[in-house]
Symmetry: C2
Subunit: 356 residues, 2 copies
DNA sequence: TTGTACGCGTTATCAC
DNA sequence: GTGATAACGCGTACAA
């Protein structure tokens, strides 16, 4: 008899793929609602019954169907994370930061790599909205012509899907929280450090123009130079260095010209690498022939030759704070929108020469 | 009159949050079925009606509810990606690789960072199953005692949720596809290169014992040494170097002993950095005092002092292939399970001295 | 404490 | 080509 039951059970185990609360209910000759109550341990179910239900659920390999749950409750315990370009080392610590906040709360995240393409971003936002994410963490991109996805983000907000910008913002969207770096102060620190060491012929290499972060860094650069009475040479401002080629080629030509800068400020980790590689390839010595101030601080900046003086942003904190804000907005416990601005710090290493 | 209609529309726009196919249907005085057919552009709906429906959908800011859709179809267009530790630079190119495969097919992915914790992995697998992912890409972890989540992965497979291992596998699960590196050959290349340069006192630093990849690399190391008649000194095998401290401390003591290796093989990017930093802190010169062969090849290995000779694995390919296999198993177009093994290549730079 | 009945938004199966 | 109806699995108001 027992054997027979075993056979039956194993048979059912293989035949019917997934157990539902109905299966548990009929197994125990009770109603599905009791099962539902027991599993979501709400009140109104006797301890003995509850235990029986939990046992049966275990035995039947019951796994809840969150699609059904979501359909009912409009909650998916999922958020969307839109990243500008996943190959940026920035996202290692950043994701680690948000994960530490999301996991304890039972939230998952969907990663959307838009590769700086705002059309792709559009597609991903739609997918996220369809999917029913409860919030979106995003570093928005822009088209060449300055177009962006503000309309779609507004649609999200209208649907009560909170959006939080990190790293970048979309100007004109004041009602969306953001966690950013004080980019001007960051660059100012770099410029100050260079000036203090006697450098006044300063160049800067920048990623795609139009992106908020980049514009801020450029503005910060010009402001700092003005403040310190350093002449800004527009030829030494290298823009739209979006890939290795578009960074190294212009940099090379600038460094070859007879009127050339004696220091270069980088504006992200990828550019750090390209700049160092380019300079080295040209046979120039760092920092004797050229001083360099890096940005973003991958752990390896310490190990390169020479150790790279770097403007470090608190990447993991950005992730943690952004995720925390998003969750509190999802909870609805936050009325005001937050605009958190974090400070960068300068890590002095060996890539800036002392001229004075 | 027109004005009035506008007001109505704007009112409805703000009052009713989300339009459903029913709203579109009643707007056009047709049935929801036709709307469904039109939107999923199936057959059986006249072109004129279809256009009207598409227009109305646009006008009402209709966004499909995939929870409802999933409930019906059991398809979520979502897969789960389980990563051992998201801070590993490995995952930059890896994720980029899988994204290029998933995006064109309309698939999203949920990232689950288990931080080498198999209990956390357990939780995440359950969440993924509940969520209704159509497949799982995973690099499984193990507990101290060798316990792992094979049971849960089997449950996924039983539910027709394909699982693909990448980087690591769980031994004894032959019916699951995998994309891995030929770890033995990889290490063999490193050992060969060292031997060719006259090094026969070889050490190796390894991450957590028990993990498939690590065991293979250790096996490969011993095999290679045996093959080349190099004596293996167990003291020079540093195991369980799971964080900076547990790598640098034992390494330091090994290097301080009077019987010390003259070359060290690293087994991941994180360890590359720790090893170089430790050696440098001890005041040893690379490669004169100690030769180093790195692993994994972050782009910055080229820039460190000295440029690091590295065993490079084709990370992006691993991602692409794993995602491709997973999708084909989801499609059900693949009967056989695939076991793809990729080869590493040795990038010779300057961190190995020539003794002969 | 427990059970009944309904609906969430969608697709699929029928009729017409 | 189109519309009515049922069902997917779950939560919940309400009745018992």
């Amino acid at each position: 008899m027992k054997n027979n039951a075993n056979v039956c059970e194993r048979l059912r185990y293989y035949v019917m793929k997934k157990a539902t609360i109905k299966d548990i209910a009929s197994e125990l000759n009770i109603s599905p609602s009791s099962v539902s109550r027991a599993l979501s341990d709400g009140p109104g179910v006797s301890p003995s019954l509850k235990e029986a239900i939990l046992n049966a659920a275990e035995r039947l390999n019951y796994i809840p169907n969150s699609s059904a749950k979501s359909l009912k409750t409009m909650k998916t315990q999922t958020i969307g994370l839109i990243v500008s370009d996943i190959r940026n080392p920035f996202f290692l610590d950043f994701m680690s930061g948000i994960e530490t906040v999301l996991f304890p709360r039972g939230y998952k995240f969907i990663v959307c790599d838009i590769g700086e393409d705002f059309e792709k971003e559009r597609v991903y936002i739609k997918w996220l909205l369809e999917h029913g994410v409860e919030g979106i963490l995003t570093s928005p991109s822009q088209g060449e012509d300055g177009r962006n996805n503000s309309k779609l983000y507004r649609e999200a907000v209208r649907r009560n899907i909170p959006v939080v910008f990190y790293d970048r913002i979309l100007e004109g969207m004041e009602r969306i929280s953001s966690v950013t770096l004080d980019n001007r102060q960051a660059i100012l620190q770099g410029v100050l450090h260079l000036r203090d060491n006697g450098h006044e012929k300063l160049g800067i290499v920048l990623h795609k123009r139009g992106i908020y972060t980049i514009e801020e860094r450029l503005r910060g650069f010009k402001e700092a130079c003005n403040m310190l009475a350093i002449e800004v040479n527009e030829d030494w401002i290298i823009e739209n260095a979006v890939d290795a080629e578009r960074a190294s080629l212009p940099l090379e030509s600038v460094l070859k010209s007879d009127k050339r800068p004696d220091a270069i400020i980088s504006t992200n980790q990828f550019l750090n690498e390209v700049i160092v590689a380019t300079v080295r390839r040209m046979g120039l010595k760092i920092p004797d022939d050229l001083s360099i101030v890096g940005f973003d601080d991958h752990s390896m900046n310490e190990l390169i030759d020479p150790p790279l003086t770097t403007i470090r942003q608190p990447v993991k904190d950005i992730g943690r704070i952004a995720a925390t804000i998003l969750l509190s907005e999802i909870d609805g416990t936050r009325g005001e929108k937050s605009k958190v601005v974090l400070k960068a710090e300068l890590l002095q290493r060996k890539s800036v020469s002392k001229l004075i």
